[in-house]
Amino acid sequence: MTEPNDKSRRGFLGAAAVGAAGLGVAAIAPGLHLIEVSQASAPSQGASSKVRWGMLIDTTKCASGCDACVKACNTENGINEVLKDPRQASQWIRKIDLKDPKSGIAHSLPMMCQHCEHPPCVDVCPTGASMKRADGIVLVDRHTCIGCRYCMLACPYKARSFVHMTLTEQNPEVPRGQGCVESCTFCVQRVDKGQIPACVEACANAEHNAMLFGDLNDLNSAIAQRVAQVKTTQVRADLKLNVGVRYQGI
């Protein structure tokens, strides 16, 4: 979605006149001036397309019965509402226990938004609210989400939830409210500050170290090296969505 440009011509000319009269003018060509914007602290550069955020989950290290990642997610993102019907509760991340009935081998793993390169939720969204950032993080723009839930149907990973009740206990950095669809954001508010997602941190604190977060495009990053060395699986790889969350050991 392009940003609406509602700067009026009058406003632009006025600003240009003020800029030319003041000091903040840089000449880029004779008669053509670029107005320099002075700011106390420069804003960040924003998401770069050179980065592809991803996660590697080692199911051999993930402990059945441990829900440290889910708790950390709920705390970080302020998911604290109690619904009459628990089936309607928001699940940004959930724990799944798998067992092969024949061999009896069991796996436990967290499942969340897989941050696809080609996300079906973005394809189907009628308003452009479902979107992918340049660095591969798939988000819902709640300002444009109309709550139609088409993306919930389209997602092969059941990763999205709909907020069913009025909320007042949000975290300032994680706005969320009734009538919008939501899902894992890779803790975008932390990632933009150079931190790792809350679930990954909690998994390390619980001494399981089953989750690894990093830039899949950076060949020196721990996650890119692990993905290059060990066999990892994309869930539903047949859909060719090229997901950002990889699993090891399943």
Binding site: M1, E3, D6, Q39, A40, S41, A42, P43, S44, Q45, G46, A47, D67, V70, K71, A72, C73, N74, T75, E76, N77, G78, I79, N80, E81, V82, R94, M131, R133, A134, D135, L139, D141, R142, H143, T166, L167, E169, Q170, N171, P172, E173, P175, R176, G177, Q178, G179, C180, V188, D192, K193
Partner: protein, 125 residues
Amino acid sequence: MVRLLALMAFLIMGAVASLAAHAAGVPKPVIKIENPGQCIAATEDMRVNHMNMLGHQRDRSLRQGIRGEKANLNGCINCHASKTTGSVIGKDGFCESCHTYTAVKVDCWQCHQPKAGYKAAGIKP
């Protein structure tokens, strides 16, 4: 004739009374600056343009990941939240008092937290 005059007098008195009430007007909004200091722009500019500043910033912040811009809702809240309620909404809240006066409904608080420095607790899954 007398009855007609009486009726006219009654009507005029009614009109005068309603004009007087109108002159007093609805209560003016309470604009309390609890942390006096430098806002990101002049008051006149903020009054006219704050919605445009926030509207453009929110798209850049969410869609492009540009953080730390001058205009941002949490920045507004951190400075303008009431010291008694900790919030920018409520009866004399910085946002709500003006928006009630001008009858402009904002939906920000359906998702955004109006209290400065609020820490939400997660629940046990």
